[in-house]
């Protein structure tokens, strides 16, 4: 029974060596970077946009109770139901019960990371409900029975040929691997589901407090259909999703679209305020919003890391992460991957279980620069490491090693002495031709590097000599 850390090491090693996979990722990322570059000119001041997003979320998250209550009051006034779920199990049970009470046989679902977090689809399927993922990327990975690969583009690890084969097998009517054609195959397959499903489930990108409406962004229109046609609409959202005002979306929508996919703005930016209104001719009869805690209130209580809750789930941090570009989205083995996942998972799932993700980073800082909400991601990884050393299980050998290391470094003579001994040892070993053999003292380094040149004299020795000579 391997631990998440062991699983991660294994998967990361496999994927890092998989050149075809790396090429696919690189192609996708190149498209993304080009698109982000093109949309830069739409902003007069991108840094000002980032600062505004930061301030909007700071205001919302640091006054979370006030804004949540305002949101709830307004939504309920329009006939919406609000359920506060403390845990994933709590949320699942509420939704499953709702489905059972209403004899729901078919659900159409749009992409939602939080529904992955609570493992909703499996729960419903176990109870005999058919769940159709309607986001194309999610649908593809659902058909392949695998988790989403990436926060924003769940199927970016697959080529069109692989998707064509998949559709040929599962859906039929596939004539080529042209992306345009494949999309129309998916559309045809899902239309019946949209028009016959009893329940639509979605996430929510934002919960707008001053209008009591949830904001939902898609490009495909699946979220629109899922919240218009079925009789019941259920939305699940983390409690941190609130924003204070509807007007905040004027900055958020374009910024989110740029960071997520390099678009000027997404195709459908929707605001939903409840079930159909009394004078409205269509729309769901019931609307339920499930607010999820599941560890968020604990993260909220840490002022140093509270801003991690500002995340607007754009996925930019994954796109720019050099580690993600090598290991891909599945290696993380968690609902939330990449830099945001590495920062977040110890808080949602425990340090002992997930600290390894915070260490699996070179701390390059590309994520922090890319984050449209100015979350200091790589510094939060450092803080997670500090917290792990303080209060989680670290190998005893590592704790001892750093104690010895510290002792050595506290004196320049002892440092020079022991370092000199180590150098001498390496020179002797390499002189005997032991470089890159099992007896190489730097074996873990030289497994993947040529043996380094070991100088005969240190800088401080040379410096002393020079000064003596002059």
């Amino acid at each position: 029974m391997s631990t998440p850390a062991q699983e991660f090491l294994r998967n990361a090693a496999i994927k890092s060596a998989d050149l075809a996979h790396r090429r696919t990722i690189r192609t996708g990322i190149d498209h993304y970077e080009a698109a982000v570059g093109r949309t830069g000119s739409r902003f007069n001041d991108w840094e000002a946009a980032r600062q505004r997003i930061h301030e909007i979320k700071w205001e919302a998250v640091n006054h979370l109770d006030r804004y949540l209550l305002e949101f709830e009051t307004r939504l309920k006034a329009r006939g919406g139901h609000v359920y506060w779920a403390e845990t994933a199990e709590d949320a699942r049970r509420y939704i499953a019960d709702l489905a059972a009470r209403n004899n729901v046989r078919t659900v159409v679902k749009s992409k939602s990371m939080v529904t992955e977090e609570i493992d909703l689809t499996h729960t419903l399927e176990e109870k005999g409900v058919t769940v159709f993922e309607t986001d194309l990327g999610e649908m593809i990975v659902q058909l392949r029975k695998e988790p989403p690969y990436h926060l924003m583009t769940p199927a970016m690890h697959l080529t069109r040929a692989e998707i064509a084969d998949l559709f040929r097998e599962k859906l039929g009517g596939v004539e080529s691997d042209d992306p345009q054609h494949l999309v129309s195959v998916a559309r045809r397959a899902l239309r019946k589901a949209f028009f016959s499903a009893e329940m639509g489930i979605s996430g929510a990108n934002f919960l707008v407090a001053d209008s009591g409406m949830m904001a939902l962004t898609t490009n495909e229109g699946n979220g629109r259909l899922g919240s218009s046609l079925p009789r019941i609409h259920v939305a699940v959202a983390g409690i941190e999703k609130v924003i204070p005002r509807m007007e905040d979306l004027a900055v958020i929508w374009p910024t989110l679209a740029r960071s997520a996919v390099g678009q000027p703005i997404a195709c459908y930016n929707t605001l939903i305020g409840g079930p159909r209104g009394p004078n409205e001719t269509d729309g769901p009869e019931e609307f339920h919003l499930v607010l999820l805690d599941n560890g968020r209130s604990e993260l909220l209580a840490d002022p140093e890391q509270r801003e991690v809750l500002h995340c607007i789930r754009c996925g930019a941090c994954l796109n720019v992460c050099p580690v993600f570009r090598k290991i891909g989205g599945h290696s993380y083995g968690t609902v939330y991957g990449g830099p945001i996942g590495s920062v977040l998972m110890p808080h949602l799932g425990g340090l002992n279980k997930f600290q390894h993700l915070s260490y699996a980073s070179s701390l390059c800082g590309a994520c922090t620069d890319a984050c449209p909400a100015k979350i200091d991601l790589h510094h939060h990884l450092l803080q997670n490491r500090r917290n792990a050393v303080r209060s989680a299980d670290r190998p005893a050998s590592e704790r001892l090693a750093f104690k010895l290391w510290r002792w050595t470094m506290m004196g320049s003579e002892r440092f020079a002495f022991f370092a000199g001994v180590a150098r001498g040892l390496l020179r002797a070993a390499y002189g005997l031709g032991l470089a890159r053999t099992p007896l190489d003292p730097m074996r873990s380094w030289t497994k993947v590097h040529a043996a380094p040149a070991i100088p005969a004299k240190s800088f401080r020795a040379l410096w002393k000599e020079q000064r003596g000579a002059s």
Partner: protein, 292 residues
């Protein structure tokens, strides 16, 4: 250089764990060198070469021998309790110096002192010293261009050279143009940009030992990009990156070699300037890193 009085210039530091501003008031003549522990032991030529360049442009150079390490390895691994005494020792040694600036041939070590010491030593008796030292420490290329305000250090290196943007130098110290400006003024040097020059090389300190497969995959990409650029040499501000990239380049028997920025800048046309002691490593069983 001259004795002209220059107006104060503000150096805006990054928003690391706090924002710093630094004021330079007039031309300085005396600097102290902070030589990172692994440079001291594994890349001594980098320190020798940096001293040579600094002297050439008119600075007297001091090396406080009591120094050992800034504490970054422990800090980055989360062992802040172990890093703290080292940080206190560092600011005690460097805070007491007569020098006007501390110059370091490593972006990551400079970052540690400037961006992370203030938080690491918050509440300690050395917090004031830490703040002072943080405003006086510079990465080498940053010192040359922004403080000494010299872009042409009289260097000669007739080769095609690409520059790897080391992550700390790029994103923590916000250095992008400075190393390039220095390289552009080197006689005979043909500068080429590598594809994905800002992408991390994969060293990341203990990351390389904890996750060697990911680290080396990232290094391979960096090595391949260096080869694609057609460069003969890859250079950078950070010897740790170069050690990693070099080990991978030599493993794949690449024609590309690595060289630290200080070692390029130390090269002049006159061979008499070269000091035998700095002639790379008299290495056994492995090719030397610096071609002269």
């Amino acid at each position: 250089m001259g004795d002209t009085l220059r107006r104060p210039t503000q150096l805006q530091k990054t928003d690391g764990m706090g924002s710093k501003a630094c004021t330079i008031v007039e031309p300085m003549k005396k600097v102290a060198m902070f030589i990172p522990c692994f440079v001291d032991q594994l890349n001594p030529e980098v320190g020798i070469d940096m001293a040579r360049v600094l002297r050439r442009i008119g600075y007297s150079v001091d090396f406080p021998e009591a120094q050992t390490c800034c504490g970054q390895p422990a800090f980055n691994s989360g062992y802040w309790q172990e890093a703290r005494p080292l940080a206190e020792r560092f600011v005690k040694i460097f805070g007491a110096l007569d020098a006007d600036a501390i110059v370091c041939p490593s972006g990551s070590c400079t970052t540690m002192v400037r961006n992370f010491y203030p938080d690491l030593l918050a509440g300690s008796s050395r917090a004031g010293d830490a703040a002072k030292v943080a405003t006086r420490i510079f990465e080498f290329s940053e010192f040359l261009v922004k403080v000494a305000q010299v872009a042409d250090v009289g260097a000669n290196f007739p080769h095609r050279v690409a520059y790897h943007d080391a992550c700390h130098a790029l994103r923590e110290l916000r250095l992008k143009q400075e190393p390039r400006e220095l390289l552009r003024h080197v006689r005979g040097l043909e500068f080429v940009e590598m594809p994905y020059c800002e992408e991390c090389c994969g060293f990341g300190g203990t990351f390389a030992t904890k996750f060697p497969m990911i680290s080396s995959a990232m290094g391979e990409t960096k090595a391949a990009n260096a080869e694609t650029s057609g460069a003969e040499y890859v250079t950078s501000t950070d010897p740790s990156c170069l050690m990693h990239i070099d080990g991978i380049l030599r493993l794949r028997k690449s024609p590309v070699r690595t060289i630290h920025l200080a070692s390029i800048l130390a090269q002049t046309a006159a061979p008499a300037e070269a000091e035998p002691a700095s002639r790379g490593a008299d290495a056994q069983g492995a090719a030397g890193k610096v071609a002269r």
